[in-house]
């Protein structure tokens, strides 16, 4: 055997030495055969321009309509009560409508993968920013803060879709989603919902403090504050929500847009605090949204509005008439998106209208400055063609805000989270207008199926990851 080993070793040595010889001779490792166009990380991230391009890469995924301003909005509507479920033909959407999503759904897969891609690219930028030679400290801070803004809004969106809401448990120790603050393939467990919200706030606060007030349509300090208002409101933290919303409305210089139809249009709206930018037909961030709701020449659409929503909306003279139209078969179509008949549109994901809804309702909840609340409410009502609301009883004001919020933000992915917020606020005694035993289309607001199952693409990567209970799991609250 020694002899054989010797032969073995000598062959191996010979082999390696010849290969070394040849590879040295050729300068490069002659066996390396990398695909065309691949460059080192130093080349890839080596300049300030490259860093900015990589940041743009993160925004770009936000623009494909697979999460905020697209699919997540649709699903949050479908799972609540604004959509006519009898007319849904898409099997995946039906699973959402019936609150029995499972781990193999394409929709939940897209939602999580594409969402994560936004912050994955953002984290990549943060992790490799040191390589950008010549990047000023200020630019580095700005880019990092934009990345954190994107990371925060996606974590916020995903935790709302895949976990029970803030307030579901008293200490928010119920499972949320994995928190990702670096670009890494490492496995991560689900953090608690409380931890996820804390991370979201930390990131948004840094963005708020670092970002400029104007940033060429990229995220600004106002965008971070606006989103913070949204996050605090979701947490039923009215003090903070009020403060943030108020700051933006009063100090950003952005104007409440008297034209309600400008919000989703090619030209965009003056009240947009942050929008997902579209620059043309071939780069239309609103493509997904208009695809879900747009009405074809034959009067058909992929999604129709429920009768409940329709009746609720039928109170005004301007908004209702333009947005809603029953077609020949009685289905109710929504004309909210691309209402200027352009083929593409801007997608504002935080705007003064929503901030007014937050500020006013928060004010009423904490009984602080009811006149300001009424001013906000009546701005919105007036624009819709409704009479002013004059009752200053905070409960009545809150009630009116909730109605107006549903009407105004229809199809903007608000409804499901709003109902859950009220459910949680009631449960935790955090509202002047509690709704006990709140139900969504007849089932409890906090039942198992009211959150999406984790997709297999998340579960497959981590054997220890806890899946959400199935719709009918008796250990939770079955949706029935």
């Amino acid at each position: 055997m020694n002899y054989i080993n010797q032969i073995k070793n000598s062959f191996h040595l010979l082999g390696i030495s010849i290969i070394l010889l040849i590879s040295n001779g050729c300068g490069e490792d002659f066996l390396a055969s990398p695909p065309d166009g691949q460059i080192t990380i130093e080349e890839f991230m080596g300049t300030p321009a490259a860093a900015q391009e990589a940041l743009n890469g993160a925004y770009r995924v936000l623009g494909d309509g697979s999460s905020i301003g697209g699919l997540s909005w649709l699903l949050a509507e479908v799972m609540a009560d604004n959509i006519d479920g009898t007319r849904i033909t898409n099997g995946d959407w039906l699973s959402h409508y019936n609150w029995n999503t499972d781990i193999f759904l394409g929709t939940t897969r897209t939602l999580m993968e594409k969402g994560a891609l936004v912050y994955g690219r953002a984290n990549f930028v943060i992790d490799h920013l040191d390589l950008a030679v010549g990047l000023t400290a200020a630019e580095r801070e700005r880019i990092t803060a934009e990345c954190k803004f994107l990371r925060a809004i996606i974590h916020f969106e995903l935790v709302r879709m895949f976990a029970q809401p803030y307030g579901f448990t008293a200490d928010n120790s119920h499972p949320g989603i994995a928190i990702r603050t670096s670009y890494s393939k490492e496995k991560a467990p689900r953090a608690t919902v409380g931890e996820v919200f804390a991370q979201v706030i930390t990131d948004l606060e840094e963005a708020m403090n670092v970002l400029p007030a104007n940033n060429n349509r990229y995220a600004t300090s106002w965008a971070a504050k606006g989103y913070l208002a949204k996050v605090y409101f979701q947490m039923n933290d009215y003090q903070q929500a009020f403060a943030m919303a108020n700051d933006v409305i009063e100090n950003s210089g952005l104007q409440f847009d008297p034209n309600i139809f400008a919000r989703f249009s090619e030209m965009g709206t003056s009240e947009s605090v942050f929008d997902i930018v579209s620059t043309g037909q071939n780069n239309n961030s609103g493509g997904a949204l208009s695809g879900y709701f747009r009405v074809g020449g034959d009067g058909t659409a992929q999604t129709y509005i429920s009768e409940n929503m329709y009746n609720n909306a039928a109170v005004d003279t301007t908004r209702f008439k333009i947005w809603y139209a029953p077609n020949s078969s009685g289905a109710i179509t929504l004309n909210k998106f691309v209402s200027d008949n352009s083929s593409w549109m801007q997608v504002p994901i935080i705007h003064i209208t929503e901030l007014k809804l937050i500020r006013g309702e928060s004010a009423a909840e904490i009984n602080n400055n009811i006149p300001l609340a009424l001013e906000d409410l009546n701005d919105i009502r007036g624009r819709a063609g409704m009479p002013n609301f004059a009752n200053s009883d905070p409960i009545q004001v809150v009630n009116s805000f909730r109605l107006e919020r549903r009407r105004e933000l229809v199809a903007e992915g608000n409804r499901l989270h709003e109902l859950k917020r009220i459910g949680a606020a009631t449960e935790r005694g955090l509202t002047v207008l509690p709704v006990t035993n709140l139900e969504i289309r007849g089932v409890p607001w906090n039942c198992n199926g009211m959150i999406c199952q984790f997709p297999d693409s998340e579960l497959s990567g981590n054997l220890d990851l806890e899946a959400n209970p199935t719709n009918s799991d008796p250990n939770g609250i079955p949706c029935q």
Binding site: S33, G63, D92, A116, V118, F124, T279, S457, L463
Partner: protein, 1027 residues
Amino acid sequence: MKLPVQQLIWCLLSIMLCLQAFAQGTVKGKVIDQDNFEVIGGTVLIEGTERGAATDMNGEFTILNVPAGTHTVVVSYIGYEDARKQVTVGEGGTATIDFKLGENTELLNEVVVVGYGTQRKRDVVGSISKVESKELLDVVGGSFENVLQGKVAGAQITQSSGIAGAGSMVRLRGVSTISSGGEPLYVVDGIPITQDNFLTGSSNGQNNNPLSSLNPNDIESVEVLKDASAAAIYGSRGANGVILITTKRGQSGAKPTFNFSTRWGLSQPANRVEFLDSEEWLQIRQEAWENDGNVGRAPLPGVLADNGYTYESIEGINTDWIDEVIQTGFKQEYNLSMNQGGKKLSSYIGGSYSDAQSYLVGNSYKRASLRGNIDYRFSEKFTSSISTSITRGLNNRIPQAWAGGLGTAQTSALPIYPIMDTDSTYFNLYGNPVAQRELTSNKTREWRSINNVSLTYSPIKRLALNVTGSYDYMNIGDYFFEDAVWTDNQNIAKGFTSKVHNWSTYGTATYDVKMPNPDHTFKAMIGTEYQRSFQNGTNEEYQGLTDHLFRNPEQQMTYDTLRYETYGIVNSSRFFSLFGRLNYSYKDKFLAQAVYRSDASSKFGPKRRVGGFPSVGLGYILSEEPFLKESNTINFLKIKASWGKTGNADIPSNEQYHDRLYGDRIGPNDYYNNEPIRFERKLENPYLQWEVVTTYDGGIEIGLFEDRITAAFSYYYKKTTEAVIQNRLQASTGIEDLFFWENVASLENKGFEIELTTRNLVKKFKWKTDLNLARNTNKILSVASATPDALAGGFGDTRVVVGEPIGVNYLIPFSHIDAETGAPVYLDQDGNETFIYDVVNNRRTTGDIFPKVTGGITNTFNYKNVDLSFLWTFSIGGTIYDDAAKRSLGVVTDWNMQKGVFDRWREPGDDATYPKLTMDMTNWGGNSNFWQNNHSLWLYDATYARLKNITIGYTKKIKAENSPIKSYRIFVNSTNLWTITKYPGWDPEISRDRDNAQERNVGGVGVTYLTPPQERTFNLGVNFTFQ
């Protein structure tokens, strides 16, 4: 009266020769076979000398200058036993000696091709199976590997379908990898060739099979290297076994001999499943509608209602869509070859044309091929050979197997749908398989050329130096043509062409060491090899043409270009290798072999560039020992054992690299806010390397009663370490490519193989039986932290689970149908009965797709000129999961259903196979998505036996000198005539053609989704040999 004259002549001749020769004489004679036919090209040697000759076309030979004395003359000829006779040659005399050769029944004396050389089969210490050329010719226009089925112990060969030109999934001794390619290495005349069916991606069940471009008529033999001792010479590419293909060459001493053969055949599906007709379908649908609590008539499927059809207007429509898409296919094949051998030049030239239709309307594979193998001997020391082949294949494809064609015919094309609408346009255009076939066309055109040049130089005796260079070129074009009616615009023609280039060069030095003591013999070989391959191609799309792109290439640029892009080098790889082999034998009874190969390859990450692959084999021929030498029972007995490591380098070339997109690599609309973007799509893994398979192999070969019975038994244990898995990253990482390839898994295969040949009758009526069977057990030892869903077999829910065999059916266990309600009852994770279909918690292993035992048995009978043979193949154990049954036997949807659905629950107390009909999956405990209906009700036993081939033939040799025809043969045969199985679907022999290697390993067999069945053929063939 004749004798004196002859004697006189002989005397005179002798005297003349006496005068010329110096103590030398001549040996001459004639060699015939047992049927008294001349043996042409036989080798005649004076033992112990270098004197010899080849027999001529009359079977005669003359050896001049034979030293006077007594000699042993040995005659050898392929397929016949060596014959020996003693002869005494006087000085200047001529001795005449005739031979009659007996057919070689001692198979162990065969020569087998091993990597970079040949060995006598008796000296082989590894596990090698050999299949001769004549066994490869049964199929008309087919691919040779399909014919190996049932003939090689331990080779699980599953033909993918009955689609024309379809290939097979070949697994030798089980599946030894999870995410890497599991196919063996194919080597043609020493060149590892391109054989990947998925070079151009997946074409949905009917990918181009590169092996079909090899004309089986050109093949001399196929050797299958199964263990490490045999395969280690191929190092990092030997772990899945190696299939060596040797093409025919000119036989020395043969005058030009021509062979013409032609075959004609008919094709049908091997089986047909019955589907509902209109009345039955409406009945089933109505029942489901009412079961779901509805009243009145069930609404017609939307496509009918949308087109204005009513229950009244569809009355009388009963379209049998399966009849519309199947036919009796016709096959034809013509081969002409020439074989010639002179002193300097010998050659084989073969041409072939075949046109084989399948039973699917519009589907055929045409192949035209030409091969020339030329050997030239410059001198005793210096020889050369050139081999070249060119093949053109044209595959007329059907619309995708399941999106159109037979798949649509049994699913979404309902019997209540008409083919044509009332206005003579196609009804339901995109769901109408007839419309799709008529309005779209898909052809794959392939050019393939395999070439090599080899030079051999022997500077001194027993040393041979060889240099071989080769080039394997493949050009595959997938062409699509869509009619204006189909595109609802203009005609569109698309072409996707890929060129695969594969160069290799190797050099070897072989030395037979002459030892002072002749009991010891050594043979050493060392070599080096370099191989480079890559692929490039073009994607184009035009509108306004009238035909396929390749039919008018010069005009295409004048049309409206929708797309024209060339892509650079992909799938690029380089191998650089050093290897050696040392063989030792002692007294011809103790055998030892050591092999070592070192491979460096671009396929391996920069941190893992070079791998070493050793093997050692030992053999002991006991029958050479005195105590067995005289045995009347045992005439041959060998035991052997081997150990070795081989590698699997069939990992994608690019998985070690990151993928970063920027600049030109970004799509034209990929920007944000009018600013450019860049991003990383994928992580790198510089440690990605080959898989290591360590194999132990032990075997016995035995010959009894003068080889009336020969048998070989071998046992093996293979352990794969550093197994590559396509691991999954959590989606929440935010990394775009969630697959991460790493060497973290391990698995094992163990089993045994038996090959047995018995010559039951050997007189005038001959009867021979060949049996082979193999049992393999696979077990996954570790997959690091990967979840079953991370290592999925694609559609059909097969998974990799630690502790289980690879490819288990990972389903919700179905228990029974509740007799009271008709609802399906499942089992939960604790084995308790439940009505809830809980895919998150209750899925588990419910079966294993790979069979326990596979094999084949051939019985061959000969009587005078007539021969008859039957080949049965069998597969015992394993499962079939019918992934379409959830809709064709399950939930009632807008799909047609199998007639078997009538065996459904209808009222309390019913003992039915299928649950109460419903149109809503939630009634079966699941969610509303009818695709999520995967449970073990759709799981079947895959055991089958199949009469793979039956052939009856008549062979006649013609002795008449003046007849140009020397022999002919007429035969008829049938393939897949009869199948015995309990599986109620189309065909128990299933392999799904998937482009993902992991899906092929984990779910490649035993999972069907509308896979077309194998074909049953009836063939007639004629061969002529003439000079």
